[in-house]
Amino acid sequence: MTTTHEERPSVGADPLSLPPQPVPDAVTAPFWAALAEGRLAMCRCEHCGLWLQPPLERCRRCAGPTRFTDVAGTGAVYSFIVQHRATVPGYLDNLPYVVALVELDEQAGLRLPARIVGIDPAEVRCGLRVRAEFTELPGGDFTVAVFRPVDGP
């Protein structure tokens, strides 16, 4: 999965212009493959039904086989930050931005870190209901799920 920087066609002259690029492995690859198809899928034990994040080849509770399974893409903001300082490549402009731990509806404590879009950073609150949408990660190789506030429960 690792490609040299020179081989990436869309890389600009500035190495700090692109956000951190994921390096999928044998276990995480289906997560990224699903996103590329516009689906959010999480790792789940086929025997006991436990959702596992980060994903594992076998269930940590029952050692059963696991499979990536689509989730509804809805959840609530468990906590969040507003990033003001230029700190991470690809995010050196367009500050501030919001990153949340989104607790997915499928299981208590099942969380994904993700950007929150479509809301003034000052309006974000813990408990805010959000829904996933998909956007291309600059660099051209990956799609990510960001979350936008939704009305209602």
Binding site: P15, P22, P113, A114
Partner: protein
């Protein structure tokens, strides 16, 4: 059964200057700290048979540093992968090596050079492992992770920016009396509140001061310690906790940290409680790390840390002196080993202008989030 670590003691301490940018190699700084620590306790390279350090792959290793100071045949060498989370295990591991006869005199060190800065990505990043889920969203570095914890605490317990500021102001006030500290200008709460946002709810003064430098401590048996120049500082007990594979995202309750599990274990092993502690060197990569762990160790209830600090209970004349050296926030970030240096100095009674009167016990914590540990030092063996 639980065997005491009290048969081991810290007998020597050393360090290099703490500076923003040293222009030196990690090997040079670590060797300086190790030499100073040995000179401090009247030992030489010929007496040393063990060396250990923790690092994130950014440091000269134990065998290199031992060689650099003239150790010819190192009998016990352990390089530990980890940061603040692993300091307790590394120091307690050195003590265990001494107590089990694997080594007689062990040097423990940590060094950080200018090529290591945890607060910011300096070059193009590719992320594997769990980081691949977070990094693409611009969520990559520790100030962001622990600001996320802090926000949840504010939501659940109503803690405030002024509460965090009380910690930052207190620690800076302590650093004023510490010539080795890198940040010695007093700050006010207004200074804190006016400092720029980093990762909201963290401001600049919530974040530790990343620097270059090295610290080394020498661990040996209490028997041998009795023949050395300084009052020995004994290990009274240690405990760690690691959950969720170290995942800062999946840790179940962001209003607390590893210390929720470590504290009862440590108090049980030592037979001590918060009221018995004279000096608390609380790992303070961020102000909120102090807040969460201070609550977890039972010094006060959830949400009361701000009041505790404002009432003067965390400084001289109060209940316990927290980070008399100024901590990682103001003395400088040597990944927590400088907390051990300070604890030893205080328990020897050699801390000069910032001496905590009659200090007999010191709690030293390390780590943040889902993993870390703590130990207690005492002037008397357990």
């Amino acid at each position: 059964m639980s065997r005491s670590l009290g048969g081991a003691a810290v007998v020597g301490i050393g360090r290099s200057p703490f500076v923003r940018s040293s222009g030196r190699t990690t090997l040079s700084m670590a060797a300086q700290a190790a030499r100073e620590a040995l000179a401090d306790c009247g030992l030489t390279a010929a007496d040393v048979d063990g060396f250990t350090c923790y690092s994130t792959g950014d440091s000269a290793g134990p065998s290199q540093v031992a060689h650099a100071i003239g150790v010819d045949d190192l009998g016990w060498s352990l390089s530990v992968l980890g940061g603040g989370n692993i300091v307790t295990s590394t120091v307690a591991g050195a003590a265990a090596a001494v107590l089990t006869g694997q080594a007689e005199v062990v040097v423990v060190y940590r060094v950080l050079g200018s090529q290591t800065r945890y607060g910011r990505a300096l070059e193009r990043v590719e992320v594997d492992g769990e980081g691949q889920f977070a990094g693409p969203h611009g969520y990559l570095v520790p100030p962001q992770w622990f600001a996320m914890f802090c926000r949840r605490h504010q939501y659940e317990y109503g803690s405030t920016a002024a509460d965090l500021g009380a910690i930052a102001v207190q620690e800076r006030d302590h650093a004023v009396r510490n010539p080795h500290a890198v940040a010695r200008s007093p700050i006010t709460l207004d200074d804190y509140l006016n400092s720029r946002w980093i990762s909201e709810p963290f401001r600049l003064f919530d974040c530790c001061y990343e620097i270059d430098g090295a610290v080394a401590i020498v661990v040996t048996s209490a028997e041998r310690a009795a023949d050395l120049p300084h009052r020995p500082v004994h290990l009274l007990g240690a405990a760690d906790s690691n959950r969720f594979g170290g995942s800062v995202d999946q840790w179940d309750d962001l209003s607390c940290m590893y210390s929720r599990d470590t504290a009862p274990r440590l108090w049980s092993r030592t037979g001590l409680r918060p009221a018995d502690i004279d000096v608390a060197c609380m790992y303070d990569c961020f102000t909120f790390t102090v807040m969460a762990t201070f609550e977890d160790f039972g010094f006060c209830a959830k949400g009361e840390v701000g009041d505790y600090f404002r009432a003067g209970r965390a400084t001289y004349g109060g209940d316990v002196v927290v980070n008399p050296h100024g901590g990682l926030l103001s003395e400088g970030y040597i990944h927590g080993l400088n907390h051990h240096y300070e604890a030893v100095l205080q328990l020897r009674g050699d801390a000069g202008d910032r001496q905590v009167s009659g200090a007999e016990t010191a709690l030293v914590t390390s780590g943040a989030g889902p993993f870390g540990g703590a130990l207690v030092y005492g002037t008397a063996a357990a």
